[in-house]
Point group: C2
Chain length 218, copies 2
C-alpha cells in the first residue's frame, strides 16, 4: 500500500515512516516544501539501508504526496493541522486519512485535553475533509521511542473510525508494524476517549520520572 506520511519530517512522522517502510509499505514523506521532504526521505532511506532494508522512501510536497497515496497520515504539528487539512481537501478526497492529532493545553506542569466543539480532533478533521475516510490512530505512540529503531516496543494502538472498511485497513496496516497491535476502539464519535490518553500518558511520565510511556490493554 502506498502511504503518505504528511509532516513526515517531524518526530512522530519519522517513527511512522521508518516502521511502515520496514513493514514493506511504499512510503511517501510529505512536507510543506518538496525539497525538505526529499532530504528527509533520503535520510530515512539511508537509515533503512544500514539496517538491511532495501526500501526507498520518497519525498514530495504534502499535496503531491496526498495525491499519489492510498492512505495518508496527518503527522502534522497540531497548530497547523486543521489549516493544512483544509488546504489538502481536494488531494485527499476519497482517501483514507489517519488523524493522530491531540489537542492539548499545558497548565503549569500539567497537560490537559482540550477537544474542539466537534468532540475530538479526529471529528474536526472529518468535518474539514468531508470527502475523505477519516480514521484516528497513533495518538499513544510516543514519538521519540517510536523513531528509535533500537527500542523494543510492544504497544496497543486503539483505532477509531465510522467507516468500518477504512478502519479495518488501518488496523491491518498497524498490525503489519512489528511490535504494534491495532484494536478497534469504536466509531469516530469516541475518538476523544483515545485522544485524551495522550495528556494522561505525558502526566504519568512526568510524575513518575519516566518517559515515552505508551499503553497495553491486558
Amino acid at each position: 500500500m502506498r502511504i503518505a506520511v504528511l509532516g513526515g519530517t517531524g518526530h512522530i512522522g519519522m517513527g511512522i515512516s521508518l516502521r511502515l517502510a520496514m513493514a514493506g509499505h511504499d512510503v511517501v514523506v510529505g512536507s510543506r516544501l518538496a525539497e525538505k521532504a526529499q532530504q528527509k526521505a533520503e535520510e530515512y532511506t539511508c537509515i533503512l539501508k544500514e539496517r538491511g532494508f532495501s526500501s526507498k522512501v520518497k519525498g514530495k510536497d504534502n499535496s503531491e504526496a496526498s495525491k499519489i497515496a492510498d492512505l495518508a497520515i496527518l503527522a502534522i504539528p497540531f497548530s497547523h493541522a486543521y489549516v493544512t487539512a483544509e488546504s489538502l481537501k481536494e488531494d485527499l478526497a476519497g482517501k483514507i486519512v489517519v488523524s493522530p492529532l491531540v489537542p492539548m493545553e499545558k497548565k503549569g506542569k500539567l497537560f490537559l485535553y482540550c477537544p474542539p466543539p466537534e468532540g475530538s480532533a479526529a471529528e474536526k478533521i472529518a468535518s474539514i475533509l468531508q470527502n475523505s475516510r477519516v480514521v484516528s490512530a497513533f495518538q499513544t505512540a510516543p514519538a521519540e521511542k517510536f523513531a528509535n529503531l533500537d527500542a523494543r516496543i510492544k504497544w496497543d494502538i486503539p483505532v477509531c473510525g465510522s467507516d468500518e472498511e477504512a478502519k479495518n485497513t488501518v488496523i491491518d496496516v498497524i498490525n503489519s508494524i512489528d511490535g504494534l497491535r491495532g484494536l478497534d476502539a469504536g466509531p469516530l464519535a469516541v475518538s476523544r476517549l483515545v485522544e485524551s490518553l495522550t495528556p494522561l500518558l505525558i502526566n504519568l511520565a512526568i510524575r513518575n520520572k519516566t518517559k515515552d510511556l505508551s499503553i497495553r490493554f491486558v
Copy 2:
C-alpha cells in the same frame, strides 16, 4: 490501616475487599443495611480462610463503617453515589476517600464518558465531601476479574489527587495489593483523563470480543 469499602457487597467492592484483606489491611465492608454487610463480610472471611488467610472482614452499615475507618472507598453504584456521599459527609470528615466512580452513558452498543459540570466524578465527590481528602483510583480495574482470586492480574492503577499525602497513602495501599502498581496521574483536576478510560476499555472489550480489559503503561 483500617479501610472501609462502602458498597463493598457489590462487584467492584468484592474484589477490592478481598484483595485488601489479603494484603493485610483491616477491611470493613459497608452497606446500606448492616445485616447485608455482615453477611457479605462473613462470606468474604470464608473465601479468605479457604485460601489460608486468617483475616476477618467486618461488616457495618455505611455510616458506621465510615466512622471507624482511616480510609474509605466509594465502591457504590454510580446512580446512588452522590446521594450516599452527601449522607456520609459528617462520617467521612477528615478521612481519605477514594472515588472509583465513572459517569457513563450507553448509546446503542457504545459507552460514552459523561462527566458532571465539576469536570469529573471525583471532583463532584470532592465538592460534596469538602472536609474529606478525596483521591480517585480503581476506575480501570474490571470488577469481575478483580473479584476472581484465581485470575492472575498485572495492572497499573492511575491515581489522582490534589492532597499529595493522601494520594501517596492510596498509592501505597494499591502497591500493597499483589499484581497492582499505583501511579501518580496528577491532581484531581485531571481525574477525567482516568475516568474516561473505563468506557474506552469497555468499548475495546466489546469490539474485540474479549472481556475484563485493564491497562498497563509500558
